[in-house]
């Protein structure tokens, strides 16, 4: 196989990417933490970050695995309450220095793991079903989580989630930096998994489950794996949400919330991580930018969803996935790549 293209060799690519990412994190944190940026703007950025993680995590189960789970908010809720209860229990607000950061890291990891466990518990039965049935059963589970969070205290006999009145005075541990860090880590981890044999297995299930099975892919295992990963990151996002808001209510994690996240994924293009990132950003920032718009937000959401499905069901970016080094390659080989693309579609 001869290559006339100039390619960047593997280890170099990773180095370039890593350096760029670290620079980006440092630069943006410095920028945001400076006086140039208002607290309001910082808050919006944090919410954008949380929504990015939510969209990107849902994309694993919808875009990559090809299912339509409608209970994503349930996993977010699990993570949020896990993080909130944990942070209150260890009294993180009073911690200082290293202990403080340790608590934050522990809360995030714990939230993800607990949400991930729910992902397995729900995924194993739910993923036996397909299509519409999977959609409804995950919807059912999401609602049950909400109902349980609202009423569990009466069963337990003590105050755990504080039910409908809400879990309050959660230490506000969420900052721009740790949101950004979580966003970057989530995206990187998901990307690493998808560009491996595990990721290919997941995609093959989406494409043709029967064929995947005939190639030796253990479909149940990978379906649960994708679902669990999706739940894990939703849980992390939930924890960040708890640390941002400072208080939680079960009613904010209902079917509506799951749909809000779904809209982001659908708009961006199911199967495109970049698409999810972009649309999460746009759909969070836009209503804020146009304050008067905010009453209409949900109406516009719904309209966007419907119109998108009718006119461009593959979303803005379809299944296009982002690769920094691939862009650099294209820049280095402009004519070749144009010609190759044409040839490919003619074959």
């Amino acid at each position: 196989m001869k290559t006339n293209r100039k390619t960047i060799p593997m280890p170099m690519r990773y180095l370039i990417n890593t350096v760029l990412i670290v620079l980006f994190i440092l630069a943006s944190t410095l920028f945001v933490n400076s006086d140039a940026v208002s607290g309001y703007f910082t808050k919006i950025l944090m919410v954008i970050g949380i929504n990015i993680i939510l969209a990107v995590s849902l994309n694993i189960a919808t875009g990559y695995l090809g299912q339509l789970p409608l209970g994503h908010a349930g996993f977010m809720a699990v993570g949020a309450y896990t993080g909130g209860i944990f942070l209150k229990a260890v009294d993180a607000a009073k911690a200082t220095g290293g202990t403080y950061y340790l608590y934050i890291a522990a809360a995030l990891v714990l939230s993800g793991i607990v949400a991930g466990i729910f992902g397995i518990l729900i995924g194993v039965p739910a993923l036996r079903l397909k299509g519409d049935y999977l959609a409804i059963i995950t919807l059912g589970f999401g609602e049950i989580i909400r109902v349980v969070l609202t009423n569990i205290d009466s069963v337990l006999g003590f105050d755990f989630t504080y039910g409908a009145s809400g879990l309050k005075r959660i230490p506000k541990i969420t900052t721009f930096f740790n949101v950004l860090l979580c966003v970057v880590l989530s995206c990187v981890v998901i990307h690493m998994v998808m560009k491996s044999r595990h990721g290919r297995a997941i995609l093959s299930i989406r494409e043709n489950e029967i064929a995947a099975e005939s190639c030796g892919i253990r479909t149940t295992y990978y379906k649960v794996m994708a679902f669990t990963m999706s739940a894990f990151f939703a849980g992390v996002a939930g924890c960040l949400y708890a640390g941002y808001l400072g208080s939680l209510q079960p009613s904010s994690f209902g079917f509506m919330k799951s749909i809000e996240i779904l809209v982001m994924v659908v708009l961006g293009g199911m199967g495109s991580m970049l698409g999810s990132i972009l649309s999460a950003t746009v759909l969070t920032a836009l209503p804020e930018a146009l304050r008067a718009f905010s009453d209409y937000r949900m109406v516009v959401y719904s309209l966007v969803l419907v119109l998108m499905m009718i006119f461009k069901p593959t979303g803005l970016l379809g299944q296009y996935d982002f690769s920094l080094s691939r862009i650099l390659e294209k820049l280095m080989n402009p004519k070749k790549s144009a010609g190759k693309k044409e040839g490919a579609s003619h074959e």
Binding site: A201, L203, E207, G216, I217
Partner: protein, 284 residues
């Protein structure tokens, strides 16, 4: 390629090529049968295939040939009978386990991973040939790099059998029909099987493509030492390449033997090849 006439000998269970005698048959099927509700789709299906034999399964449409393939790969669980792959009974196993044990297949209606590239399609076939775990993927440990590189080389080498290595980055759904069929075969090969089930691989091919396919199947068999079972309607292909043929009608085997024997078998002629005059045409 020389056209040696294979001599089939009787072994317990059926007939296999003389050269394979002494080794355990790669696949042995005994009294396989399946009922769908009140309908018996396949019944009393006995079959043995030698280690690197090219066998054929023919019969009129609806005879149950694809059903047999589905049974062999445990897509359907048989109602009765046994499937022994290298001596191991596959009853109750899932399809992916059966593939790991050594059966790979292609599909009558092509089942490719359409939005993935040609290379990815083959790499998915190589999934179980790589062993690195999730941790290795996330942390990009050396095992990941090494195994991915080897897999890619192996995949390209498999694609080169059909001269498709330059199509590696093309999306499978964009390939022309014939290339899609060939890709399915490559993908099946990538799973490192002991036996390859090809469901109408020559469908939609013109005579020169079919001749090429014949060459390639023989080459695959010689290079990898695997058995091949073909479901086909193209009699030219079947008679030329298959060493042993089983004829299926209404879910039952009505004849077994070498191509010559089958060609002359009156039961087969009546059920499938039509009257004597048509059989003579098929021969040419």
């Amino acid at each position: 390629m020389s056209e040696q006439k294979t001599k089939l000998v009787e072994v317990p269970g059926g007939i296999i090529p003389e050269r394979d005698v002494g080794q355990p048959p790669v696949l042995e099927v005994r009294h396989l049968g399946i009922d769908f509700g009140g309908l018996t789709a396949v019944d009393d299906f006995d079959f043995v295939i030698g280690k690197d034999e090219i066998g054929g399964l023919i019969g009129p449409n609806g005879a149950g040939k694809t059903t047999v393939f589905n049974l062999l790969t445990n897509v359907y669980q048989p109602t009765r009978g046994h499937i022994l792959l290298g001596g191991v009974d596959t009853r109750g196993k899932k399809t992916y386990e059966v593939n790991k044990l050594g059966i790979a297949r292609t599909f009558q209606n092509i089942r490719l991973f359409k939005t993935l590239t040609v290379l990815d399609n083959v790499l998915i076939g190589m999934h179980n040939g790589m062993g690195y775990n999730l941790g290795s993927s996330v942390l990009r440990l050396p095992a990941y790099w090494k195994q991915e590189k080897e897999a890619k080389q192996q995949a390209l080498s498999l694609l080169s059998i059909f001269d498709m290595q330059d199509l590696a980055e093309v999306h499978a759904g964009n390939l022309p029909y014939g290339a899609q069929r060939r890709l399915e075969i490559v993908r099946a090969l990538a799973t490192n099987p002991k036996i390859l089930l090809l469901d109408e691989p020559a469908a939609g091919m013109n005579p020169s493509e079919t001749a090429e396919l014949m060459e390639n199947i023989r080459r695959i068999r010689d290079r990898f030492g695997i058995a091949v079972i073909l479901i086909e309607h193209d009699m030219n292909l079947v008679m030329n390449i298959c060493e042993g043929i089983a004829v299926l009608n209404y879910g039952r085997i009505i004849a077994k033997g070498t191509p010559e024997e089958i060609r002359k078998n009156p039961v087969v002629i009546e059920a499938y090849l039509g009257k004597k005059g048509d059989a003579a045409d098929a021969e040419s």
